[in-house]
């Protein structure tokens, strides 16, 4: 039995809500699920809820719309079936993740499905006032997301030390990508270069079996895939407020039947599709996620699920998402507590902001959220690498910066590990040092450093008077992309091509 998983960061969770507030949110969500209930556009789901004891009525005669009032009893029974531990496998078994609802062990990963891939080229700029004064600065070049970009992203993220899992983060928009072949190609691009866990939504349900088959081939068989589910799925079942979308609901039902781990996610926008007040959006998103979790457990009790919270607030000038707002942190921190309250591992969000390019705004927006959300103890934090302009852009340079910053955050949140004996040992150190000629403690740093207890300086430190962060991070990016990746072995690739239709030619996955 595997006992060693990829190392996470164990935190002492910061609690935003009191126990009273948690109870209030829970009761509020139950109230919402009972009245008004959920508007369900999927007949299959309506039938399942009905059989489980919910009050289901047709909302509109002649149309496939039902009102489902999910009772507290159904929710209670749901909660008793949810596995508290979810294992997410990986091509390299050392990268398997153990998500335990009781243990605030934090992992960080990528996401969302961006439309723009933002490349960087370093250019030299010359002062107009004094041509002897020059500086290096990145030029940013936008590309529409492509299969190649997704492969590049997977290779990069596989080599970033603090990326624990990979949610496909580029929307592949090649001309020969269609609804019928998109999913298999997305997963192939990710699995080709990624030895960590791979996760994505499914566009076309008919490709689900093919994707799972790919996972089985790589894992070494059906049983091996069950023990090491190296890929999993995200379902955003609810369109806020409280509307269960027909096709995504069907996807959840099918995935749950197969017993593959699945994220039940919801993404209401405070101020437009949800109340902007913290208590309002949190009780709403909580209700929506509970509705989805309930359905998964009704379909297949014991389905491994993640509580997928992606609440955000609206800008008041455009009603677009405003990710860099403190409210984003508030909403997410509350959801993490709710997930812990129910005993479900939490899929949370942090590292997304409103900045369009790497720089100060991006860093502030991302780091504040990454730190606070991690401190709240979410087990699985997505969006953490490379995102810019909300969830529209993936920037490899930004991903390299985020990797450094997440590393710092891990160090910041590291718990003290000393005991009485350690304190006594350092007293001995102090006594010994006072008798030395130098009275310096420097020599004792060595052991602490080799134990990993001494953090390193900022990896992109600049020379005096200059800000070379972006240039140095770019150099690191080039180094990673120029290195050999850990490509999927040729035998597995052959087997996949033999069994999975719809894949683009192999050379399309070459970098």
């Amino acid at each position: 039995m595997q006992t060693n998983y990829r190392r996470a960061t164990l935190v002492k969770p910061k609690k935003r809500m009191s126990d009273e507030q948690i109870r209030a949110i829970h009761e509020g969500s139950l109230q919402i699920l009972n009245d008004p209930g959920v508007t369900c556009f999927n007949e299959h789901a309506a039938d399942l809820y009905d059989k489980a004891g919910c009050k289901v009525t047709r909302a509109d005669e002649g149309k496939n719309v039902w009102n489902v009032k999910i009772t507290p009893q159904v929710i209670q029974e749901t909660l008793t079936n949810i596995p508290e531990q979810v294992i997410l496998g990986a091509r390299n078994p050392d990268n398997k993740l153990l998500l335990d609802a009781e243990v605030p062990n934090v992992y960080f990963g990528t996401g969302s499905e961006t439309n723009v891939f933002l490349k960087t080229e370093i250019k030299e700029y010359v002062s107009q006032d004094d041509s002897s004064k020059t500086m290096l600065y990145p030029e940013f070049i936008e590309e529409r997301g492509s299969l190649k970009n997704l492969c590049t992203s997977a290779k990069l993220c596989n080599n970033l030390e603090n990326v624990d899992f990979f949610i496909r983060n580029v929307n592949i928009q090649d001309e020969d990508i269609t609804l019928e072949n998109k999913d298999v190609n997305v997963f192939m691009a990710a699995l080709m270069y990624m030895t960590k866990h791979v996760q994505a939504g499914v566009v076309d349900l008919s490709q689900l079996d093919q994707i799972i088959k790919m996972g089985e081939i790589i894992a070494g068989g059906k049983k091996e895939f069950k023990d090491n589910p190296l890929l999993s799925f995200i379902t955003c079942v609810i369109k806020s407020p409280l509307q269960m979308v027909e096709d995504t609901t069907e996807k959840l039902i099918t995935i749950a039947q197969k017993g593959v781990p699945v994220v039940i996610s919801s993404s209401p926008q405070g101020g437009s599709t949800a109340p902007i007040q913290e208590e309002g959006i949190v009780s709403l998103i909580n209700a929506e996620i509970l509705a989805g979790i309930a359905l998964a457990q009704i379909v297949n009790p014991g389905t491994p699920v993640l509580y997928g919270a992606v609440p955000v607030r609206a800008r008041l000038d455009t009603l677009h998402d405003l990710y860099g707002a403190p409210e984003f942190i508030h909403y997410n921190a509350d959801c993490i507590q709710m997930a812990r309250h129910y005993g479900v591992p939490c899929y949370s969000s942090a590292g997304v902001g409103d900045a369009k390019v790497p720089g100060m705004q991006a860093t502030i927006e991302k780091v504040f959220a990454q730190l606070e959300v991690a401190a709240a103890g979410a087990q699985y934090i997505h969006y953490a690498f490379g995102l810019l302009d909300k969830t529209n852009v993936f920037c490899p340079l930004q991903a390299v910066l985020d990797d450094a910053h997440v590393g710092k955050i891990r160090d910041m949140l590291r718990q003290p590990v000393f005991n009485e004996k350690d304190v006594a040992d350092t007293a001995g150190q102090i006594k010994h040092t006072l008798t030395s000629s130098t009275k310096l403690f420097a020599r004792y740093i060595r052991k602490a450093r080799r134990k990993g207890l001494v953090t390193e300086p900022y990896p992109f430190e600049s020379e005096e008077g200059k800000d070379e962060v972006l240039v140095k991070a770019h150099n690191r990016l080039e180094e990673i992309l120029g290195s050999d990746g850990e490509k999927l072995d040729p035998a597995s690739v052959d087997e996949i091509y033999k069994n999975i239709p719809g894949l683009l030619p192999r050379e399309r996955f070459e970098l």
Partner: protein, 224 residues
């Protein structure tokens, strides 16, 4: 090379002064360190100069290389330099003139009215580690005492440290006193400390400005 000499070399590299040092992995407590091994080597009849030239110095050279290639940081260098310092203290009385090529006699002090000495202590340790004979006069040392020490010890190098803008002026006084005594040409003067700068060093007529301990050592080694 004898087993004991090799152990000395390795312990210098690891910066283990004595058996109380746990070593890098924390499992070496009780194992002899440089101090014990130097004594053991002497008991085995190995000559002091062999101990120094075949074990201690090569160990420190290896440390220097590891520092240059980024594998070692300052704490590692300091730990190793302390070992060299301790070993040298044991061996010096036994060494014959000519046994060891010293890089020079170095007087070092923090100037009058100034008590800061961390930088000076680090520099002293590193200087000993790199082959200088060092006499540390301590802190708050008056100019005439410093110049007297230079004269009496026939020092080839003088290091002056100050951490306050109100005390760094004494450095110029010391250099002027050296000139008065006809000693200025005998000695290379190196200055350092937070308020000191390259410009200041030039202004007062110092030979070397060390931005930090390692900069100072680097420049001094280039001059040797």
């Amino acid at each position: 090379m004898s087993d004991t000499l090799e152990k000395i070399r390795k312990n210098v590299i690891e910066g283990r002064i004595d058996s109380e040092d746990e070593g890098f992995e924390g499992d070496m407590e009780g194992e002899p360190g440089v101090v014990e091994l130097v004594q053991q080597a002497l008991d085995e009849g190995i000559s002091p100069s062999d101990i120094l030239n075949k074990a201690v110095s090569p160990g420190m050279e290896e440390v220097g290389q590891r520092y240059e290639n980024g594998e070692y940081l300052i704490p590692d260098m300091l730990a190793a330099a302390e070992c060299v310092s301790e070993a040298t203290e044991i061996l010096e009385p036994m060494l014959l003139e000519g046994d060891v090529k010293t890089r020079g006699k170095f007087i070092i002090a923090t100037v009058e009215d100034d008590l800061h000495d961390i930088g000076k202590n680090i520099v002293s340790t590193l200087l000993r580690g790199s082959g200088f004979e060092v006499e540390d006069l301590g802190v708050g040392v008056k100019a005439d005492k410093i110049v007297q020490a230079v004269e009496e010890k026939k020092a080839s190098h003088l290091g002056l440290s100050a951490l306050l803008t109100t005390t760094m002026g004494h450095m110029e006084d010391i250099i002027n006193l050296l000139k008065e005594k006809g000693l200025r040409d005998q000695v290379k003067v190196c200055v350092g400390g937070a308020p000191v700068s390259e410009d200041f060093a030039k202004k007062i007529g110092a030979d070397v400005y060390g931005e930090d301990a390692f900069d100072a050592i680097h420049k001094l080694e280039k001059m040797s």
